[in-house]
């Protein structure tokens, strides 16, 4: 039996997605993603470009946004505030992990 092996791709700064692809991944309308960009919760590579692209690392943030939007029934502004807190918590957790790794 042939077993198909598929490649997992990392969602980091080396990959890029369009606004439409980001909306599909987040399961959010494009307009809501535009609002999140306006509120500073998402950052396209070049905000001045006519069609936005994002580094693939934003897929993770956008999917979190989609979950929070649906599960807490938030509007775009509230969502951008919650996202900023989620990201702060993630940054602090990363710092804590780094300290544990260094100190044992």
């Amino acid at each position: 039996m042939n077993v198909e092996i598929v490649e997992a791709v990392t969602l980091d700064e080396h990959g890029f997605v369009t606004l439409d692809q980001l909306a599909l991944a987040a399961e959010l309308p494009v307009e809501e993603l535009r609002a999140l960009v306006d509120y500073g919760a998402l950052a396209p590579v070049d905000p001045a470009a006519t069609s936005w692209t994002f580094t693939a690392s934003w897929v993770v943030v956008a999917r979190t946004a989609g979950r929070l939007r649906r599960d807490f029934e938030l509007d775009a502004h509230s969502l951008s505030v919650v996202l900023s807190y989620v990201r702060r918590v993630e940054a602090l957790e990363a710092e804590l992990r780094a300290l544990h790794a260094r100190q044992g």
Binding site: V6, A8, V9, L11, D71, A98, R102
Partner: protein, 315 residues
């Protein structure tokens, strides 16, 4: 089909009003939502309550759910025949159907048929799976076999749970908490809709020697006092195999000896470092000869490790 007691999951009475249901859901969501909660099994609990809320908040879905009557949580049951007609175009088996799949995307005034609009393409669902790897697997890359239970739609538009096996190649250099995407390996699209993606949440198991921070690795390096003072060449384990490490003379406890590029490495060429953190280990059992040697060192040495106490404490 297995019964799920949505009212019990949300902790509300069967005759609870829409506002009470919303309030109960919000309270539980605040506690268990995986993005904001660190409760044990938060994700699993949240999935159950989100599924319950998704059905009970919609009057049409709730009415259909209520027609199922009362059963024990998890009990196998057969829905009434007229109830099944809501969901399928023809005769269909509901044996391997999950209530969540049945209610997903239905209601909201569009009737119960999933494919009310038979023309528009429908993208496949995205799936998420947790993948745990060892640090060695993260270092070298690995292949993991995932046994998923996924919904697939029959010709009547009913989603049946089917097993799907996917073997995924995980690239080297993955880190704890990282998300990966496997394009096109989510649910099948319908009517030409694109296939969904499979998202993997990577967890790296703790290692008995190495600790990771991003691509950097840390290992404790115990040295005997004489190795730290005189310097030494010691064998240090690394995920790629042991290497000889030159410890310079006069190495202090807490010092980090860096082995450049010996941490985790990614296919794009980025690589972390391995840091050996020096600990001075002292022998706790000495024979007479060894004790005499330490005494001799004590008497002959002018070294004062607390000289700064005198300087700092001076008025």
């Amino acid at each position: 089909m297995k019964y799920k007691d949505y009212y019990a999951i949300l902790g509300v009475a069967k005759d609870a009003g829409a506002e009470d249901i919303k309030k109960a859901y919000r309270k539980l969501a605040r506690k268990f939502h995986p993005d904001v909660s660190k409760e044990k099994d938060a994700e699993e609990k949240f999935k159950a309550m989100a599924e319950a809320y998704e059905t009970l908040k919609d009057p049409e879905k709730r009415a259909a759910y209520d027609q199922l009557g009362s059963h024990a949580q998890g009990q196998e049951f057969r829905p009434p025949p007229d109830w099944e007609q809501h969901f399928a175009r023809g005769q269909t088996s509901f044996d391997d159907v999950d209530l969540a799949d049945l209610f997903a995307g239905l209601g909201g005034g569009q009737g119960f048929r999933r494919r009310a609009d038979p023309k528009s393409p429908m993208p496949g669902r995205d799936y998420e799976a947790a993948v745990r790897v060892t640090l060695e697997q993260a270092f070298h890359g690995t292949e993991v076999q995932l046994d998923l239970s996924v919904p697939e739609y029959d010709e009547n538009g009913v989603a049946h749970r089917v097993p799907r096996m996917v073997t995924v190649r995980i690239p080297r250099g993955v880190t704890d908490g990282q998300k990966l995407r496997v394009p096109g390996k989510g649910g099948h699209g319908v009517r030409g809709g694109r296939a969904g993606d499979l998202y993997l949440d990577i967890a790296v198991s703790p290692h008995r020697l190495f600790r990771a921070d991003g691509l950097d690795l840390f290992v404790d390096l115990p040295l005997a006092p004489w190795e730290a003072v005189l310097g030494a060449s010691i064998e240090l384990p690394t995920p790629a195999g042991p290497v000889q490490l030159k410890v310079p003379a006069g190495t202090r406890a807490g010092q980090q000896l860096r082995l450049t590029g010996r941490g985790l490495a990614r296919p794009d060429g980025s690589a972390g470092n391995l840091f050996a953190i020096v600990q001075i280990a002292v022998p706790t059992v000495l024979d007479d000869a060894q004790r005499a040697l330490f005494r001799q060192l004590e008497e002959g040495s002018t070294f004062n490790p607390r000289a700064h106490f005198e300087r700092e404490a001076a008025p």
